[in-house]
């Protein structure tokens, strides 16, 4: 059932919030730890039903918010008061969120119910959903294959029908990558659109909180709630947030950009072909102009991203010394987290001044300028979300092969622009995501374009 219809039923009293939560809890009980063993949740909110009953009373009084009665799952690196924000790590396995992140405050203010905390790659370090200290998440849409990461549990929970929508965080693709593999919609807003206050950071110059939903409209609804300036996060911008839903069905008159470089980066050419065909079909149907654009440095995105990520993550983890809360991170973390800490520590040494981090910062600016130039010619850029099909859980691959999963999503983080992944079809039974990228703070246009493409697939 679409959220639009569900909200209508909740408002009319044809469906109770309590019933909505009960249905999800039943599905979770059946298939999360038992049955299909998706392992998408790390903790369920034991107050969810009580909260739902309170929301039902508000609905009855006609005083409820715009998400009233909906169940939202939250990635375990986002603080929710009273629930464990473990970041899927033993470091914080008993760490109870002592306050609500701003995005959570906003969701609660609109009367949604936090149904639980989702699994992810440990401290969001991963592209596969395998590095969690509490076991990998399974892909509900492609059994035995990775769900993608790092927001693996949030994507899987939406795909499996365990919640209405979910929150994740995206530093180099951690929302769009699992959205692509799990066959759902995932949106990374522009850097500075949504508050990061209460997010346990991976790489603070790139992190953004974003949304998962089953369709574009629902993702737009959730983003409209969490977006906006927050005094507690000085990186948020004071931009006007339009009503994303108001004109979401409008077909915009646009020119869209495609790039040969994306094809080169696609390790499985069938993925590029599928996305290109969908793009051409949409362009024909809506009379959109297709422009070939050149993004010369896009092949350096992975090499630019990881030095920044390693150093910022090393810096971010210095607070996990086990003195005020949790355990000392180096003593209890898994290999991928340790690789980033040790690598970040090494390359930020004074003797390497200018060799790694500063060099990557320079190329980051160069990439940003390339996108600035591209958005002077076109309204959006379309590419596949992930350049290859998901591997089997537990496969042996190199770190570089793992990092290359994010080759097409990282550029949007480096440029600070908004991007969204939506399902474009299947190859070998695995969902394939199509990525739409728009200039910073052009989320309204992003949703309109994505909605138009989504509509095409439904016919």
């Amino acid at each position: 059932m679409e959220i639009k219809e569900k909200l209508r039923m909740l408002k009319r009293g044809e469906l109770k919030a309590e019933e909505n939560i009960k249905n999800f809890l039943k599905a979770i009980k059946k298939d999360d730890k038992a049955g299909r063993k998706i392992n998408s949740f790390l903790q369920l909110n034991k107050n969810a039903l009580t909260d739902a009953k309170e929301i039902d009373k508000k609905i009855k009084r006609g005083k409820a918010g715009k998400l009233a009665g909906l169940a939202i799952a939250v990635k375990s690196n986002i603080n929710v008061k009273g629930l464990v924000a473990s970041c899927a790590s033993k470091t914080l396995e008993n760490y109870e969120g002592s306050y609500d992140a701003t995005t959570i405050e906003k969701i609660k203010a609109e009367d949604a119910i936090i149904i639980g905390i989702t699994n992810c790659d440990e401290f969001a370090c991963g592209s596969s959903g395998e590095t969690s200290a509490f076991g990998p998440t399974k892909n509900p849409s492609c059994p035995d294959k990775i769900p993608g990461g790092s927001s693996s549990g949030s994507a899987a929970a939406v795909a499996a029908g365990f919640c209405d929508m979910a929150l994740g965080s995206d530093t180099g693709g951690s929302i769009r990558n699992p959205a692509s593999h799990c066959g759902v919609v995932g949106v990374k807003p522009s850097y500075g659109l949504a508050s990061r206050y209460g997010l346990i950071d991976l790489s603070m110059s790139l992190d953004q909180i974003g949304c998962f939903a089953k369709n574009v409209r629902d993702a737009a609804l959730l983003l409209s709630v969490i977006a906006g300036r927050d005094e507690r996060d000085p990186t948020t911008f004071n931009v006007k947030i339009p009503d994303y839903l108001k004109e979401i069905d409008k077909i915009p008159r646009i020119s869209l950009g495609i790039s040969k470089e994306f094809e080169k980066l696609c390790q499985d050419k069938r993925i590029y072909k599928l996305v290109l065909e969908t793009t051409k079909k949409a362009a024909k149907k809506y009379n959109w102009k297709i422009e070939n654009i050149s993004l010369d440095y896009i092949d350096l995105a992975v090499q630019t991203y990881y030095p920044l990520c390693y150093v910022e993550f090393f810096s971010a983890t210095r607070k996990f010394d086990g003195r005020k809360y949790g355990y000392r991170i180096e003593e209890v973390c898994g290999p991928e987290v340790l690789r980033r800490i040790l690598g970040g520590s090494e390359i930020s040494k004074a003797e390497y001044h200018g060799l790694y981090y500063r060099r990557a910062l320079k190329v980051k600016q160069l990439l940003g300028r390339e996108f600035d130039g591209a958005f002077k010619k076109v309204d959006c850029i379309i590419s596949p979300t992930v350049p290859k099909l998901p591997h089997k859980i537990g496969s042996r691959i190199s770190p570089q092969e793992m990092y290359s999963y994010d080759a097409l999503t990282i550029p949007a983080n480096l440029a600070g622009i908004c991007a969204l992944s939506l399902p474009a079809g299947k190859i070998d039974g695995c969902p394939i995501g199509l990525q739409v990228m728009c200039n910073s703070f052009s989320e309204q246009k992003l949703f309109q374009i994505a909605k138009a493409i989504e509509k095409l697939g439904k016919k």
Partner: protein, 87 residues
Amino acid sequence: MEDFLWHKVSKQEEEKIKKEAKQIMDSFASALKKVEKKKQEAFFVEREKQLREETKTESDPEFRKRFFRNAPKKSQEYIEAEKGEWK
């Protein structure tokens, strides 16, 4: 080649990971070398209308309780965080 499933890291593996991380960073830095001279870096962003209004926020009476619950060592009113234990 390795699997990415979580496991406890041994001292031996830690050394291997450290070496490998440096090698990865070296290969990435070398790839970036060819383009780094194309633009001068600037470490600031011009932002208008970003002055903060100083407002008083309500404190959450439950916060202190929750924060103390997370602390591994405490003595009545204080969290004990020994300097010597962190190396």
